[in-house]
């Protein structure tokens, strides 16, 4: 098939006419959209400080764990030192509360993302 014939066929597409109620349907949808309250944006301003504190806390936790491991005699270390450090810190009661708070944070964020209707 020649280039011109391909052009002729593809540019000679017959046109379809939108159904008579098309405009009304679109306008109904647009009006519905306009009357709906806008979705509440995710409260990044409130979340960010908490997130920043969590990151700093996690960093401190790891740093503390590492410095503690460095002070330990080498022959006592049989598993990767980072794992031991993290496990030790996690065993502390404060770490449990921190983990719970993080978990709650993640759960509520996931719920808000999956159920947009809950925002309003």
């Amino acid at each position: 098939m020649s280039h011109d014939e391909l052009d002729r066929i593809l540019s000679g597409e017959p046109e379809i006419v939108p159904s008579s109620g098309f405009t009304a349907n679109v306008m109904d949808t647009v009006r519905r959209e306009a009357t709906e309250p806008p979705p509440i944006p995710f409260p990044w301003r409130r979340v960010l400080p908490g997130l920043a504190v969590s990151v700093v806390a996690l960093g401190m936790l790891v740093a503390m764990g590492l410095s503690e491991m460095r002070q330990m005699p080498a022959n006592k270390i049989s598993i990767p030192i980072e794992w031991v450090a993290v496990a030790r810190q996690l065993a502390a009661p404060e770490a449990g509360w921190g983990a719970l708070a993080l978990l709650l944070c993640i759960c509520s964020w996931t719920l808000v993302r999956h159920f947009p209707g809950w925002r309003s």
Binding site: L10, M27, R31
Partner: protein, 202 residues
């Protein structure tokens, strides 16, 4: 070249009138000021082109209207993003093309592929009247890889206007030309395979 809005589609005759960029601009201004009813003339003016463009992507009339409705809704939501330095139609077609491409990624068109499978039977292709054969060629476009299909659909929708099609696709003109060239090659090879099979079947 700017597409002509018409009641019946991009190149349709009935009800066609010159594009009034000023009208678009004024009505968009009203909508942005809170007058929702001002969006209705915009829908009336552009419904033909948008439904026809959607139809070229999916080749299903009912789905084309659904897709065009979604495109209008997306345009309404993003009306404030239209920068007045470009024609409203340019922006609207880019929005619509994005909506249609996403929609086809989500649910690929089913009918054309079935049809294409039928066309593998060379005798079926042989028996087609010229009109049906043309339709079969148009449906073969749906079997192209998406980036080539999009280039072909928009190029012919914009009446073979490369800059307009490139703007709608948000690609460079050179990229569009390369894709068109490759798309034609693929189409020709698919058609050649059909015709060869047809001869062998005789």
């Amino acid at each position: 070249m700017q597409p002509r809005p018409a009641g019946t589609g991009l190149t349709g005759g009935g009800g066609a009138r010159p594009v009034s960029a000023a009208e678009d601009r004024a009505q968009v201004g009203k909508v942005l000021a809170g007058d929702i009813a001002a969006f209705e003339p915009i829908v009336r003016r552009w419904q033909g082109p948008l439904v026809n463009l959607a139809y070229r992507f999916c080749r299903d009339r009912a789905r084309a209207e659904d897709m065009a409705q979604e495109a209008f809704l997306r345009a309404y939501r993003g009306l404030h993003q239209w920068r007045r330095d470009a024609a409203f139609s340019t922006w609207l077609f880019a929005v619509a093309a994005n909506v249609y491409r996403s929609e086809l990624r989500r649910i690929p068109p089913a009918v054309p592929l079935e049809r294409a499978a039928q066309l593998k039977d060379a005798r079926a292709f042989d028996g087609l009247e010229a009109q049906d054969r043309d339709r079969a060629v148009r449906e073969l476009v749906q079997t192209l890889p998406p980036k080539y299909r999009d280039a072909v659909v928009l190029f012919y929708f914009h009446e073979m206007d490369v800059p307009a099609a490139a703007r709608s696709l948000d690609v460079r003109e050179g990229t569009l030309k390369a894709r068109l060239s490759r798309a034609r090659e693929i189409l020709r090879s698919k058609l050649a395979r059909l015709l060869t099979a047809q001869k062998e079947a005789r």
